[in-house]
Amino acid sequence: MACQGLQSGETLASLKKESDSLKKKLEEERGKLNDIELHQVAEKVEMLGALSIKTKRLLKGHGNKVLCMDWCKDKRRLVSSSQDGKVIVWDAFTLNKEHGVTLPCTWVMACAYAPSGCAVACGGLDNKCSVFPLSLDKNENLSAKKKAVAMHTNYVSGCTFTNSDMQLLTSSGDGTCALWDVESGQLLQSFHGHTADVLSLDLAPSETGNTFVSGGSDKKANVWDMRSGQNIQSFESHESDINCVKYYPSGDAFASASDDSTCRFYDLRADREVAVYQKDSVIFGASTVDFSLSGRLLFAGYNDYTINVWDVLKGTRVSVLFGHENRVSRVRVSPDGTALCSASWDNTLRIWA
C-alpha cells in the first residue's frame, strides 16, 4: 500500500490539474447561487429594540483563568474548568458550588455536561478527555471515579457528549476530531482533514441528524458525517484561526469566531458564507459565539474583554456587554434561552439576563 502504483493515465500533474479545476468549479457553483445578500433580504425585518441584558450573577471561586463552561439540561446547573486544573459544578440560581474536582493537569480547556446531568467530561493539556460521574454524596472523592475516555496525541480543545451519555466527541491540537465510546474508551470514528490544530467543535441539533462542525488553526470550518468519518463540506473564508464554531438552532447554518476579529455566518444548504459580523472598532480576536434561542441574536466574546451582541439577519451590532476584566473565553446561552453565561480569564463567570 505504501508504494501504490499509478492508475492508467493518472500522474501527479493530472491530479493537480483536476483538483484545480474542481476548486474552480466549486467557486463558480457557489457564486452562481449568490443572488442576494442575507442582510439585503433582511431589510424588511423589523429593527430590534434596545436589549436590557445585564449581569445578574457573578460566579467567583476559580483561582485562575476560566477556560470553558457548559450548561446542564436542567437550565440551572453548569460546569466550568480553568487553567489551574479545577473543574467546578455550580447551581447558577443559588451560586452554590455543588462539586469540585482538581485534575492533575493545568489548562483544562474543555468541559461538557452529560445529557443526563449525571456526569461531566473535561480535558486539556493532559491530551485526554475524562468523564466523572457526579455523586449526590458531597463527601465522595470524585477524582477516584475519573475515567479517561479520549486519548489524543496533543491537547484536547473541545468536547461534547452526543445525544446520550454513552458517546463523547472530542477535538484536539493533534489536528483530528474523534468519537469515543464512554464505557469502553474505544475509538469509534476519527475525523481527519484539518491541517492544523482543531480548536472547536459543535454537534448539529438533534433534529438534523448525525453531523458536526469543527473549526481550526488552518482557518477552515469543516462539516463531518459522524458515521462515515467523511468531511462533507468545508469553508475557508476567515483570515486567521477559527476559535469557536456553533450551529444555528435550526441546524441549517453555523457561526464562527476568529482571531481575525470577525464572526461569520455560513449557510449549509447554500454552501457559502452569508454574513460577516465586523466593525472597524472591533480589532481584537473573537474567541467564542452562541446564538439566542430563536437564532436572531449572536453573542460573541472577544479578547478585548467585551461581549458583542449581533443581529444575525441584519449584520449589525445591537449591544455590547461590559463587565469582565479580562478576555472572554466562552459564552453559552442556557438551554431554555433565559440567560447567557460567560467565562473569562478574569477568573469569574457571569450570568446575564
Partner: protein, 93 residues
C-alpha cells in the same frame, strides 16, 4: 577471488543506483496519495446540491420570526418569570 570481488562491486553499484530511486518513488507515491485524496474530497464537495442564498435567507428569517416570541433574551421576560432576574440576598447557612 577476483570474480567474487567483482561480483561484490556489481552488487554495491546495483544498490547504490537502485536505492535512491526507491526512496524518491516512495516520496512521490505519498504525494500522489495526497493528491488523490484531495481530488476525491473535492469531487464530494462539488457534487453537493445547493440552494440559492435568497431561498436560504428566507428560511433563516422564517425560523427567527417563528421562534422570536419564545426567545427570552430577545424579547425580555417579566422579572417575576425569570429566576435569574430575581436576585435574593445571600444567606450563609
Amino acid at each position: 577471488m577476483i570474480f567474487s570481488s567483482i561480483k561484490l562491486l556489481f552488487v554495491v553499484l546495483h544498490y547504490s543506483v537502485v536505492l535512491p530511486r526507491m526512496s524518491s518513488k516512495a516520496h512521490s507515491s505519498n504525494n500522489i496519495a495526497h493528491a488523490r485524496r484531495t481530488v476525491q474530497q473535492l469531487r464530494i464537495e462539488a457534487s453537493l446540491e445547493r440552494i440559492k442564498v435568497s431561498k436560504a435567507s428566507a428560511d433563516l428569517m422564517n425560523y427567527c420570526s417563528a421562534h422570536a416570541r419564545n426567545d427570552p433574551l430577545l424579547m425580555g421576560i417579566p422579572t417575576s418569570d425569570n429566576p435569574f432576574k430575581d436576585k435574593k440576598p445571600c444567606t450563609i447557612l
